[in-house]
């Protein structure tokens, strides 16, 4: 089969080529795929198309293969079946033919034999008779001899029915013959007239030889001789009729002396006039018994070959075909047909050649034989011709030779092929047809199957091509997204630098004293816009950072509550314009300190709240928060808000995990009364650049980035954010964050023990929501509350509580109102009235009267005022004039309330226990602190610092209150606060307002040109240009700068400060504290290090690490500020990781640098 295939492939080189290419093509494709990973895919389509074609070709090729295979199989089957059948049949047929021919030949042989026997017998008898009678001397004796001869001859003739005739020809010319006519069934005796013959014939040899010609002539041509024919009874031999004279040779051939010239027997085929078949005649001489052995008579016997023909006919009748015998020369002796064997000619009947036979088949067969073998027949004369075409039919022709002496004969048998092979041929044809049809059907089904199968393959190929193109598309998309991130990362620096420049220049401009008010306000506006733009840029950068996975959350402790309060404070300023109130409602179970990325947490809420503000025109915004620590059950109050739809992480499952890892789940809700969001958009608003309603961009502005950032941040903190259904107007957003509690486990919540102070609070607040929140919180802590929503209600409650004058007298000994509520302990009861400034009628002058009305209750209750940010200063003055010193800015939240209560308690305690004078002093100072708002802060910076310091001293020391930190939230908004950790610059950037103020103040500071006065700064920078610029910049600000070129020098400068020579070389001012040579003092020689990150010899990171290492074990921590040209947060993270305190980007922004340096140095100096 293999060789067959090879043959085919040689035969069809193109096909083989196809085959090979097809087999190679998948490999090619695979290689192509691999290449395609790197290269371009432009030729993918072409490849797809070509693969399509190759599938087509492969399909065709397989079909052709199948066709060839099946065809060959069919042919082979047919061939083998046919050939073997034919061969065996042919052998059989050959035997049959041989047998058939053998039988007539045998018959012929028999005839010959019998003829010869009779002849011999006749001769022997004749010899005997002639000897017996001796030499006849007279006629009588002669007649007697002839009579005896006649009797003997008759006996022989009668005994052999097949004999045609027996003749005796005597030397003297006398002829005796018996003749049998088979057709008429007559038997005749023929004799010549005895008269004409002399008795004394010369019997000597000489005479014989001399007269031979004569004798012969006498037999045949002796006209004078008269022959008589005597009919005889065939059985008895009796004479039945009269002898009739007949001409000699008329009837029979008389064998003469000429036929036996040499005295031996001879035979030949003869014809007779009266017989239609050739005759076999044998002749034998009768010899004289004397010594001369002369011939005395010749005996001739003729036999008709009729019986042979008869036999042939029988045979042929049974089988079909033709048989004939010829002499060697070709004379026809006998045939199986009835056609005449003799041909009439002028000289009488003559033997005919087989080629002249009247039978068409025999004639043409003979002709064919003659033609193919010509005269020179094969030696043995055996010929087999297969498939000879005679006429319209095919025949088998076989000839055999019968080699008789003197009469060799040839037998030919012609059998039609149909007779032997007819059925086989028909069967073969049928088989062929069946085979062909079967193979055709197999081929068709095979092709169909191939089509179906390869169809699947081609489909797969198509799919694969599609997959490749999809992969390509995906790769492209990924690449483009990568490009985007890269672009953004590259742009971050480029974008921020000009923005920083713009803002910085604006700051410079604002410091200018010669600006008109209009110019100033315009510049302020520009600055605000720039800040907004910067914020937007930061947003986009945040997003790209998150997307590129570069956002790293830091893990630091921070005070969540404080951060959120700061946030709410900040936004409350914005809310005033919108007539929206903002509330913070944090549950007490939130730990004070939390580990996490405070900047990001604040960013989340800043985004959410600003979003809410944007879409809320009236009403309120509430930020609720509670802790969902698995081991502390949730507060009942909060759960009532959020039970229906709260996001609850898989609590039971993760319980152990959270416990072990100190993790907290903090849940928050941002609830507003804005326009709300359609539930169908709840998911899509978290996509970037997506807004619930595209038209809002026109109305509210914004890019739709906020929520996207929020969600990514929340997700990064392991939380989740979603909108939930809200019954009222507006939207309610829930989120939870996974944050860590501090590792040391100081998560104890401060326990308030207000109940022992026996407090009563009257909340006279305009906003209903705030009032509700506050009162419920107070009640939770065991403080009884009253609520009033407007002035009238307030007065009525007041009047109800302090009904009459009698109560006034009671007041110093503590009120009856306390008795009302706290039956047991009346001693420490305190009444606090929290009044919203909006309750006063400020539009007219009535408010003054209202204040004086309240004045009546001053002694009995503590007043705390909630001010608006824009509350005019004369109202404040008026209030403080009246002695209402406890003023806080809106909004009111837990810490502020605690502060109010604290101060009230303290106040009352001081009043009762200590000298009232002192108390007023404390009060005054404290009040001043409390009433501080961002608006008043301008121009009072120094004072502010003092007061805040003073406040801290005065308030925190005597009470050691856990709320000392609360101060921050008051002061934070007003200045660059020393306690504020300025690492969170970015966070402050986002607090637009606070930043504004901060920059204002810092530029104020800068106005004096000496904001860094007295600071010693070590500058490490390798680029001389930068080094020079930074040095001048810092010196201009009043700082003393020592510049070094690499990190190694930094480390050395710090370590070898004690060595005066080197030290002086670097900075002449170093003598300032020459005395202190201790380890600590050597660090203290510099207040700060500005460190470039990339420097030769030792880079900034290494240097910082070295410095921090050397600080281990000391109490010192020298602030190190990184200077880097990279602006990615990963760099920042790296900087902070190695121990740097802050991070500045090049080119140096002066403002930022100053504030950073100040914040860091202040911390260490204070």
């Amino acid at each position: 089969m293999g060789s067959l295939l090879r043959k085919i492939s040689i035969k069809y080189p193109s096909f083989a080529e196809y085959w090979r290419t097809n087999r190679r093509s998948p490999q090619n494709r695979r290689i192509f795929c691999r290449d395609a990973e790197h290269g371009d895919f432009h030729c993918a389509n072409a490849e797809c198309l070509s693969s399509y074609y190759s599938v087509f070709v492969a399909r065709l090729a397989i079909m052709a293969m199948l066709a060839i295979l099946i065809g060959l199989l069919t042919l082979l089957t047919w061939h083998f079946t046919k050939v073997y059948t034919n061969k065996s049949l042919e052998t059989l047929a050959y035997g049959l033919r041989y047998e058939l021919l053998q039988r007539p030949i045998l018959r012929m042989w028999n005839i010959f034999n019998s003829t010869v026997e009779i002849t011999t017998a006749q001769v022997k008898l004749s010899e005997f008779l002639i000897k017996k009678y001796g030499k006849p001397v007279n006629q009588a004796e002669q007649v007697e001899l002839y009579q005896a001869m006649k009797d003997v001859t008759w006996a022989l003739f009668a005994s052999h029915k097949a004999l045609k005739s027996i003749t005796m020809n005597y030397k003297n010319g006398f002829v005796q013959a018996f003749h049998r006519d088979h057709r008429s069934n007559n038997t005749f005796y023929i004799y010549s007239d005895l008269v004409n013959y002399s008795i004394s014939g010369s019997y000597d040899m000489n005479m014989l030889s001399a007269h031979r010609g004569w004798n012969d002539q006498s037999v045949h041509n002796n006209i004078s001789a008269i022959w008589f024919r005597e009919p005889l009874d065939p059985l008895t031999g009796e004479k039945t009729g009269k002898a009739m004279p007949i001409p000699p040779d008329d009837l029979i051939n008389i064998a003469g002396i000429s036929q036996v010239p040499d005295g031996v027997a001879s035979w030949h085929v003869a014809v007779s006039k009266y017989s239609d078949s050739p005759l076999l005649s044998a002749a034998l001489p009768v010899l004289d018994s004397s010594k001369q052995k002369s011939i005395v008579a010749v005996v001739g016997v003729t036999t008709a070959l009729y019986s042979v023909g008869q036999l042939m006919k029988e045979l042929v009748e049974f089988h079909t075909g033709h048989i004939y015998l010829t002499s060697r020369e070709g004379w026809l002796l006998s045939t199986s047909t009835d056609t005449p064997l003799l041909m009439n000619s002028t000289t009488g009947p003559k033997l005919m050649m087989a080629a002249d036979s009247e039978d068409v088949v025999i004639r043409s067969g003979a002709k064919l034989l003659q033609k193919s073998y010509g005269s020179d027949t094969p030696a043995n004369h055996t010929v087999h011709i297969k498939d000879a075409k005679l006429g319209n039919q095919l025949y088998y022709i076989d000839s055999f030779i019968l080699n008789l002496r003197r009469l060799p004969m040839v037998g030919v048998i012609i059998i039609p092929r149909k007779y032997i092979m007819g059925k086989v041929d028909r069967k073969a044809k049928k088989t062929l047809v069946i085979l062909i049809s079967a193979s055709l059907s197999v081929l068709v089904t095979g092709c169909v199957f191939i089509f179906i199968l390869t169809n699947g393959v081609s489909k797969e190929m198509k799919l694969r091509a599609e997959l490749i193109s999809h992969l390509d598309a995906r790769r492209k998309a990924e690449a483009s997204s990568n490009y985007k991130s890269q672009f953004l990362a590259n742009m971050s620096h480029e974008l921020r630098t000009p923005m920083a420049a713009v803002i910085g220049l604006l700051d410079i401009l604002m410091c200018d004293d010669c600006l008109t008010n209009e110019q100033y306000s315009t510049i302020t506006q520009i600055r605000r816009c720039s800040t907004a733009l910067l914020r937007l840029l930061n947003n986009i950068l945040d997003l790209s950072k998150v997307e590129s996975g570069k956002l790293v959350l830091e893990l630091a402790e921070f005070n969540l509550e404080q951060e959120l309060e700061g946030l709410v404070d900040m936004f409350s300023v914005q809310c005033i314009n919108h007539k929206v109130e903002i509330f913070l409602d944090l549950s007490d179970d939130i730990p004070k300190l939390i580990q996490g990325d405070s900047g990001r947490v604040v960013q989340i809420f800043a985004n959410l709240i600003s979003n809410s503000i944007k879409f809320t025109t009236s009403g309120y915004i509430v930020l609720r928060g509670w802790c969902q620590n698995p081991n502390t059950s949730r507060n009942a109050r909060q759960s009532s808000f959020a039970q229906t739809n709260s996001i609850s992480p898989n609590k039971t499952h993760d319980e152990n995990f959270y416990k072990k890892d100190n993790r907290l789940i903090l849940c928050f809700e941002v609830d507003d009364t804005g326009c709300g969001i359609d539930p169908s958009k709840w998911e899509s608003v978290f996509e970037s650049f997506e807004q619930a309603d595209p038209s809002t961009t026109r109305l509210h502005g914004g890019t739709g980035l906020g929520l996207c950032i929020v969600r990514t941040l929340v997700n990064q903190m392991g939380g989740e954010i979603k909108f939930v259904n809200k019954s009222g107007p507006g939207s309610l957003m829930q989120l939870y964050l996974l944050l860590r509690a501090p590792i040391d486990g100081t998560t104890e919540h401060y326990k308030l023990n207000f109940p022992e102070h026996n407090l009563t609070v009257l909340l006279a607040l305009g906003g209903k929501m705030g009032r509700l929140i506050m009162s419920s919180w107070l009640q939770q802590h065991g403080i009884s509350t009253y609520e009033a929503c407007d002035w009238n209600e307030l007065t009525s409650i007041l009047q109800e509580l302090f009904q009459d004058g009698s109560y006034i007298q009671n007041l110093p000994n503590h009120s009856s109102i306390a008795e009302k509520h706290n039956t047991g302990d009346t001693r420490t009861s305190t009444f606090i009235i929290v009044i919203d400034i909006v309750l006063l009628n400020l539009s007219t002058g009535i408010w003054k009267e209202q204040i004086s009305f309240l004045d009546r209750y001053r002694g009995r209750a503590k007043f705390a005022w909630i001010l608006n940010h824009d509350t005019s200063s004369n109202i404040k003055k008026e209030l403080s004039k009246k002695g209402h010193l406890l003023m806080v800015n809106r909004p009111l939240y837990k810490t502020k309330m605690i502060q109010i209560i604290e101060s009230a308690i303290r106040d009352s305690e001081l009043q009762t226990k200590i000298n009232p004078l002192i108390s007023t002093v404390v009060d005054r100072e404290m009040h001043e602190c409390l009433e501080m708002g961002p608006i008043q802060s301008e121009g009072k910076l120094e004072g502010n610092h003092n007061t805040s310091d003073g406040f801290e001293k005065n308030s925190s020391k005597p009470f050691l209150s856990p709320y000392a930190a609360v101060n921050n939230c008051f002061v934070e908004l007003t200045e660059v606060h020393s306690d504020k950790n300025d690492l969170r610059r970015r966070e402050q950037d986002q607090r637009g307002t606070s930043n504004d103020i901060q920059c204002l103040t810092s530029s104020n500071t800068r106005g004096s040109q000496t904001s860094l006065q007295g600071l010693r700064i070590l500058l490490a920078e390798d680029t001389p240009v930068l080094q020079r610029v930074a040095t001048i910049m810092l010196e201009k600000l009043g700082a003393e700068v020592v510049a070094v070129g690499d990190g190694l020098q930094v480390v050395n400068a710090l370590h070898f400060v004690p060595k005066p020579d080197k030290y002086q070389e670097d900075s002449p001012q170093a003598d300032e504290n020459p005395g202190s040579q201790t380890e600590e003092s050597c660090f203290s020689t510099y207040d700060l290090i500005l460190m470039d990150c990339q420097m030769p010899k030792m880079d900034g990171y290494e240097a910082t690490k070295a410095i921090r290492r050397s600080e281990i074990g000391t109490t010192w921590h020298i602030p190190i500020v990184a200077l880097t040209a990279h602006a990615m947060s990963s760099d920042e993270a790296k900087c902070l990781e190695v121990g740097m305190d802050a991070y500045l980007t090049k080119p140096i922004d002066r403002k930022l640098m100053v504030s950073t340096i100040l914040s860091l140095t202040r911390r260490t100096t204070i």
Binding site: P498, A501, I508, T1023, R1028, K1036, Q1094, A1125, K1146
Partner: protein, 151 residues
Amino acid sequence: MAAVIQLQRQLLDYTTSLYNEAYLDGQFTQLQQLQDESNPDFVVEVVSLFFEDSQRLLDDLTATLNQQVVDFKRVDAHVHQLKGSSSSIGAQRVQRACIVFRNYCEQQNTEGCLKCLQQVKNEYYLVKNKLETLFKLEQQLVAAGGSIPMQ
């Protein structure tokens, strides 16, 4: 006096053109602001520092890049320095060229680096010429007895 005024205008125009054509940016302005009585030649000083430094760096870069095996780390460090110093004096076109240069550096693309080096050199010489012209103008102005106008 007229000559002084003309010189002043010329200087102003020239400076403005430098800004407009983005040879310089705000950082240069800041430098100028830092210059006062205590540091009368501050700008010139810094800029000549920049020239010296840059020339050194450029020479170094040329040498490094022409080596058989290019030490890209070194090239990158140099370019980074050049970028830092150029941004500090406000030669922003040099700075930009440096940024492109660094990208090629990261890809370790020698050809691109060489091309960029040429670019950086071009920009550097351009800005050098411009600044020198600027200083010359200023000197002329000072010599004529005028004061240098501030932006």
